[in-house]
Amino acid sequence: MGITRRQFLGRSGAAAGGFLGASLFGSPFAARALAESLGDRYLVVLFLDGGNDGLNTIIPAENGSIGSFRTHYEAARVSGGGGLRVAANQLLTPSTVSMIDPGTGGQLGFHPGLQGLRNLYEQGHVAVVQNCGYPNANLSHEESRRIWEYADPRRTGVTSGWIGRHLAANFGPAEIPGVAVRGSVPGEFAQTATSILTISSVSSARFPFDSSYGSDSPFRRNALMALAEAALASGQPTLGQVGAAGRSTLLASQSYPPLDDLYEDERPSFDAMYDGLGTSTAHDLREIAKVIYGVESGVENIEARYFELQSGGYDTHSDQGLPQPGNRHYDLHRQIGDAIETFYADCTDMGVADKVCLVVWSEFSRRILQNDSGTDHGTQGPMFVVGAVNGGVYGNHPDIDGDALDDGNTRYSQETGNPHRSTDIRDVYGTILKHWVNVPHQTILSSILPRDAGDPADFWTQENFDIGFL
C-alpha cells in the first residue's frame, strides 16, 4: 500500500537531512573536466508558474481498454455553471498520429487551447510525459517549485538547481552559459560558480552611461569593472555575488544589445510573427531566438546555450473557465501553445530545429475534483518536451478513480507493472542530461540526481534515464 502524504508528514522530520548530504552537491568538478556538453545544441526550459491543471491539459477522451478514464474525468469535472469539463468532442485529438495512454490504451486529447502543441505533436515534435512528480507531494507552491528546480524531494538543504549543478561543474565565473528572460536567476540554474544573465530583453542589457559626456564612459566602465573585481576578490559571499552579477552584466552589456538589431534586420518575418501573438511568452521566446541566432551567426562573446523563461497565471483556484477564448485556462494554454509553435518554426528556419529541446513543467498539477469554478493544489502532472524528440506519449496517466485518490489527489507510485505508475521528475531530468546534454550516467547519479533510499514502490530508487523521448 502506498504511503499517503499525511503519513509522510508524520515521519519526514526524522528522515530530513539524513541521506542526501549537501556535500554531494558542494564539490563541483574542475571546469570541463568531464567534457560533457550540449555541443552545438540548446536547452530551453519553460516554467508554468502557479500549478497547471494537468487533468485539463492532457484529457481522457474515452474509457480505454482497462479502466474508466472518461467516466472518472466526468465525475471530477462537471458541466454547467463553473464546470470545467471539456466535452469529448471538443478535445484536440491528433488525426494523423496516435495519442494513446501507454498504461491503459485509452485515447487522450489536448485541451482546446493547446492548438499549437497539437500541431507540433502531429508532426512528431512533442513528447508528452505524463504523471510527472516525486514521492510525498508537497502542496505549497514555493516548496514544490523548489523541489522541482533543485530535484530534491526531501528538501535536504540543497541550494543548486538540477541544471545549475551541471553548469557549475563545466563553466567558470567569466562565462555566461545561461540566459533567463526574467527578473531573477531561476532555481533550475541556481549555483554560484558561473554567470547566468537575467534580462527582460537583449536590448535592455545596454549599460546606462551619461550620453552627454560620452568620453567619460570608458572611465566609468573601467571603474565599475574594477569595483566588481574587487568585490569578487573580497571573499565576502554577498559582496562577491554582487560583484559576479556586476561583472557578467558589464560583459554582456557590450555583446548582447547588438543581437536585437541583428535579429530584426535579418529575420523580419519571424519578428513580426511573435509580435502578432502579442503575449509575454511569445516575446520572451523571441529574445531566446535572438540569442540562438547570435550564437549561430558567430557573434563574439555570445555563447549561451541554456535558457529559461516562465509563464504565469496558472494558480486557478477560481474562474478557471470554459475551454474557449476569453477564459483563463484556455487563454493560458493558447499563449504557450502558439508561442512554442512559432518558436519551433523560427528554429526550423534557422536550421536548428534538430538542435533545440524545450522542456515545459509546472510546480504541481491540481486537485482532481474541481471546486465551484476552479481547482485547488494537486500532485503529479504532465510535462512536455518539444523539439528534437521522438514524439508521442510517455509515462502512464495517473489513476483518477475517486476511490484511488488521496485527499482528492493522485498518488505517486513507482510500483513496477502498475498501469498508473508515476514518472519521477528525476527520470525526465536524467534522460535530458544523459541523452541531450551528454552527461555520463554515473555523473548524473553521483553529483546531480542521487537516488532515494527506501521502498522501491514508494521512492525513486531505480533510475530510468532512457524514457525514450530523446
Partner: protein, 500 residues
C-alpha cells in the same frame, strides 16, 4: 553567531549608529548619526527613540493604482518616521497581496493603512485584522469559499506564510493537509459588502451540523503539541468567534522543541529583515538568537511587536552587519531592498519626483515606480503571496542594470528645481584633491565606512581619468556635470552601496 557581549546598555559606536539608522530607516544622514550618539548614546535608548514614533493614520491616496503607488513613495521620501515605513514594507511582504489579483487600489490602500496601524502593535490582533481585510479576502479567495467545497487558498497561506511556516527549526512539519481542510471550513461564507466591510453569508457557511461526514472541526491532531485529540475550534460558536478560535489555537501551537511556533517564526523573519539573511536558515546558532529575543521581549506570551523589535535592535546579532570595510570572508552583509535603495538615494540627494506622474527628471525620464518595477519591487504588486525574494535574489543582471539606470538618471537630472540633482548644494566646491573629493561624496552618501582602500583607489582613478590629471576644479560646471556627477553615479552603482 553572537554571544552575549552587548546589551541595551552598550554604548553605540559611530559605525553602529550608522548601521542602526540604515537598517531602521532610509540612509544615515550625518546629523542623525550625531543625534543618536550624543543624545541617546546606548543601544537601548536609541531603540526606544526609534521605536517611539507616533503611529500615522496615513493611507496612500488618489484615484488609481498609479496615484497610490506614487503617494506611498512620496510619503516614504518625506516621513520623519522612516522605521514605520520600513515596517510597513516588511508587513506588505509578509502579508503579500497584489493589486493585479485584487483589482481594486482602494482596497490595497486600506490594507496599507491597516499594516501601518498594526506595524509595531500586537501580532495576534494583526492576524485577526488581516483575516477579514477586504483586499486579502479577494486575493486569496475567501470571498469564493463556500460550504459545498471549502476553498483552501487562504487557510493554506495563513498557516504556511502568515503564521506557522511549513517546517519548524528542526525541519519537522507544523501542520497536515487535514488541518488546512478543517480551517477552510471556518472561513467559508465570508464575503465583502459594497463598503468593503466583511460579513458572513450564512447560506454559504459550512456549519458543523450540516456536514457531519466532514468530521468535527478539530485541528492539529498530529502536530502542534496538542496530543492526538488535537484542538477543537467549534466551541465558541460559528462565524467571527470561530475564526478567532482558530487563531487562538494557532497561537498556542508548539513546535517539536515545545516552543511557541509563531513566536519563533516571526522573530526569525524580523531578524532576517533587520539583521541579516543568515537567519533564513535554521541552525542551532540562529535559533539560539531567535530564542533570546523572544525570551527577552516576552513575545511568546504577549505577542507585542514593539518589545520584540527592541530586543532585536539591542542584540549583538543585529550589529554583526555593522563592521566597516574592507570586507572579508567573515563579514556579514545584506542586500538593500530596491525601495530602500531608491528612497535612500533620493532622500540623501534631496531629489523629489517630478510632475503629476512622479518622474525622475533625468536620463530616461522614467517614473519612479517604473524604476522600481525594473529593480524588481513594485509596491502594491508583490509577485505572489510569497512576497519578494530577498537578499541575493534582488541582484541579477536585469536588476543591476535597473539600479544603474536609476543612479544615472538621478545624477544627470540637470537643472535648478527640487527635482534636480544639485551637487553644488551638497559638496564643498573648493575641494580640488581627488582623494578628498571621494571622501566627501562617500560621506554624503553614508558609505564612507563601507569603502575599503581598494575601492577608494578605483574612485580616485576615475576622477583623475586614470592618473592623467592630479586635481579637479569643481567650480567648473563641465567638471561638475561629468566627473563629480559621475562619481555620485559610480558610488550609487558600486557593489558596496547595494549592501548594508
Amino acid at each position: 553567531m553572537g554571544g552575549t557581549m552587548g546589551d541595551e546598555n552598550t554604548v553605540l559606536t559611530p559605525a553602529e549608529a550608522r548601521h542602526l539608522l540604515r537598517r531602521t530607516g532610509f540612509g544615515a544622514p550625518a546629523d542623525e548619526v550625531q543625534r543618536l550618539l550624543t543624545k541617546y548614546g546606548t543601544r537601548g535608548r536609541a531603540a526606544d527613540f526609534l521605536l517611539g514614533f507616533k503611529l500615522a493614520s496615513f493611507r496612500p491616496g488618489g484615484r488609481d493604482l498609479d496615484d497610490r503607488q506614487k503617494s506611498w513613495l512620496v510619503y516614504m521620501l518625506k516621513t520623519k518616521s522612516p522605521l514605520q515605513e520600513k515596517l510597513v514594507l516588511f508587513w506588505h511582504d509578509h502579508f503579500a497581496t497584489n493589486n493585479t489579483t485584487v483589482g481594486n487600489s482602494k482596497r490595497m490602500a486600506n490594507q496599507n493603512g491597516l499594516l501601518r496601524q498594526h506595524c509595531k502593535g500586537n501580532f495576534k490582533t494583526f492576524v485577526n485584522a488581516i483575516n477579514l481585510d477586504a483586499a486579502m479576502m479577494v486575493f486569496l479567495d475567501t470571498v469564493r469559499n463556500q460550504k459545498f467545497q471549502p476553498n483552501e487558498n487562504y487557510p493554506r497561506e495563513l498557516l504556511e506564510l502568515f503564521t506557522l511556516g511549513v517546517l519548524d527549526s528542526n525541519g519537522s512539519p507544523n501542520y497536515a493537509q487535514e488541518d488546512i481542510v478543517q480551517i477552510a471550513r471556518a472561513f467559508s461564507g465570508w464575503r465583502v459588502d459594497d463598503r468593503d466591510q466583511p460579513f458572513l453569508n450564512e447560506g454559504q457557511h459550512d456549519y458543523s451540523e450540516d456536514y457531519p461526514e466532514r468530521g468535527p472541526k478539530v485541528i492539529f491532531q498530529t502536530y502542534g503539541g496538542f496530543g492526538s485529540a488535537g484542538r477543537s475550534f467549534a466551541g465558541a460558536g460559528e462565524g467571527e468567534p470561530e475564526i478567532a478560535a482558530v487563531i487562538d489555537v494557532l497561537f498556542d501551537h508548539r513546535d517539536s522543541d515545545g516552543k511557541k511556533t509563531i513566536a519563533r517564526r516571526v522573530a526569525r523573519r524580523l531578524l532576517e529583515y533587520f539583521a541579516h539573511g543568515a537567519f533564513s536558515v535554521p541552525s542551532p546558532a540562529t535559533t539560539a538568537v531567535v530564542d533570546d529575543v523572544v525570551a527577552e521581549s516576552g513575545f511568546d506570551q504577549t505577542w507585542e511587536l514593539r518589545p520584540l523589535l527592541r530586543a532585536i535592535f539591542t542584540s549583538d546579532a543585529f550589529f554583526e552587519t555593522s563592521s566597516p570595510a574592507p570586507d572579508g570572508p567573515s563579514t556579514i552583509r545584506s542586500v538593500k531592498w530596491p525601495v530602500d535603495y531608491a528612497v535612500t538615494a533620493m532622500r540623501t540627494l534631496g531629489i523629489k519626483p517630478s510632475g503629476k506622474d512622479g518622474r525622475i527628471d533625468g536620463g530616461s525620464r522614467r517614473r519612479l515606480i517604473e524604476h522600481l518595477v525594473n529593480m524588481g519591487q513594485e509596491v502594491f504588486e508583490p509577485p505572489s503571496v510569497f512576497g519578494w525574494d530577498w537578499e541575493n535574489s534582488w541582484l541579477t543582471s536585469r536588476t543591476f542594470l535597473a539600479r544603474a539606470t536609476f543612479a544615472r538618471d538621478l545624477t544627470v537630472a540637470r537643472g535648478n528645481g527640487g527635482t534636480h540633482f544639485r551637487p553644488e548644494r551638497l559638496v564643498d566646491l573648493t575641494l580640488t584633491d581627488p582623494a578628498a573629493i571621494v571622501d566627501e561624496v562617500a560621506g554624503l552618501l553614508g558609505v564612507a565606512d563601507r569603502i575599503g582602500p581598494e575601492e577608494h583607489d578605483v574612485f580616485v582613478d576615475y576622477l583623475t581619468n586614470e592618473g592623467t590629471r592630479s586635481s579637479l576644479d569643481l567650480q567648473d560646471e563641465e567638471i561638475r556635470e561629468s566627473k563629480l556627477a559621475g562619481l555620485f553615479a559610480l558610488i550609487l552603482q558600486s557593489p558596496a552601496f547595494q549592501l548594508h
